[in-house]
Symmetry: C2
């Protein structure tokens, strides 16, 4: 919890520098995101936050997500279903594997693939700015797990 509080405090300073205000709503939404361990969409965030403040509106969630994203406090993802899903940016870069049967989102990170993407872009004459990598897979029966393809 202390971590969450620290992040909220730090973010408040960031906002102030941008001439923006730390409102109750932003504080609440930020807390919901800091406590989330999944990738909720606007409606999901709204539902969780609404439980703490029944006067909150969905438009405020949308507007806040935009502010948070601009400030670099969160990341937005758009998986196959199309809707925007968010997660706190206070973690190192990673990509996602989506279980096509359950919809579960699994995080992973691979230096090798990051490097490979950079190299591919470079070979095409580009500097890689960002990327989107999503794997869609199906759980293998147990015992099939291993590194040989």
């Amino acid at each position: 919890m202390t971590g969450t509080e620290r992040r909220v405090a730090g973010f408040e300073g960031q906002l102030r520098e941008a001439g923006l205000r730390m409102t109750q709503q932003r504080r609440l939404i930020l807390r919901v995101l800091a406590e989330a361990d999944d990738h909720p969409d606007a409606k999901g965030i709204f539902t969780r936050a609404f439980a703490h403040d029944p006067t909150l509106s969905l438009s405020t969630v949308y507007r806040t997500m935009k502010v948070l994203e601009t400030q670099g406090a969160i990341e937005r993802h758009a998986f196959e279903d199309g809707v925007s899903r968010y997660e706190h940016a206070d973690q190192e870069h990673h990509d996602h594997l989506i279980d096509i049967d359950s919809g579960e989102v699994i995080e992973f990170s691979s230096d090798a693939i990051e490097e490979l993407q950079r190299r591919i872009a470079a070979e095409l004459g580009y500097e890689l700015v960002r990327h989107r990598l999503e794997l869609y897979g199906r759980k293998k029966p147990p015992g099939t797990r291993g590194k040989k393809g």
Copy 2:
């Protein structure tokens, strides 16, 4: 052109097997896609097709794209801008690099990255079914091109 015609004919058989019909509209849209060398969205396809048949409607394009996708005749992509973009599936697998300044979409394919993705999924206990890989980059000044990162 013969290639296009052959594909359309082959696709007609495919449709028939599914109890579907090869209509003028589908034939036209399929031709537009076969002749496209970019990644047009529904409206773009509509515009091109409309030039050949001014009675065509946009909803038919949308419905047709769904049929074509289900039949595996085309692929649908949703890059960052959100709208669905399509391309003929009659080509080998590749991924895309988007120039963030011009919006230009560049195709590339890399066995190494395909293999790496498969391995990552496997290590997480998953069989990779499909994936989405998009690189967003900025053109490097000429002379900077090379394979050493």
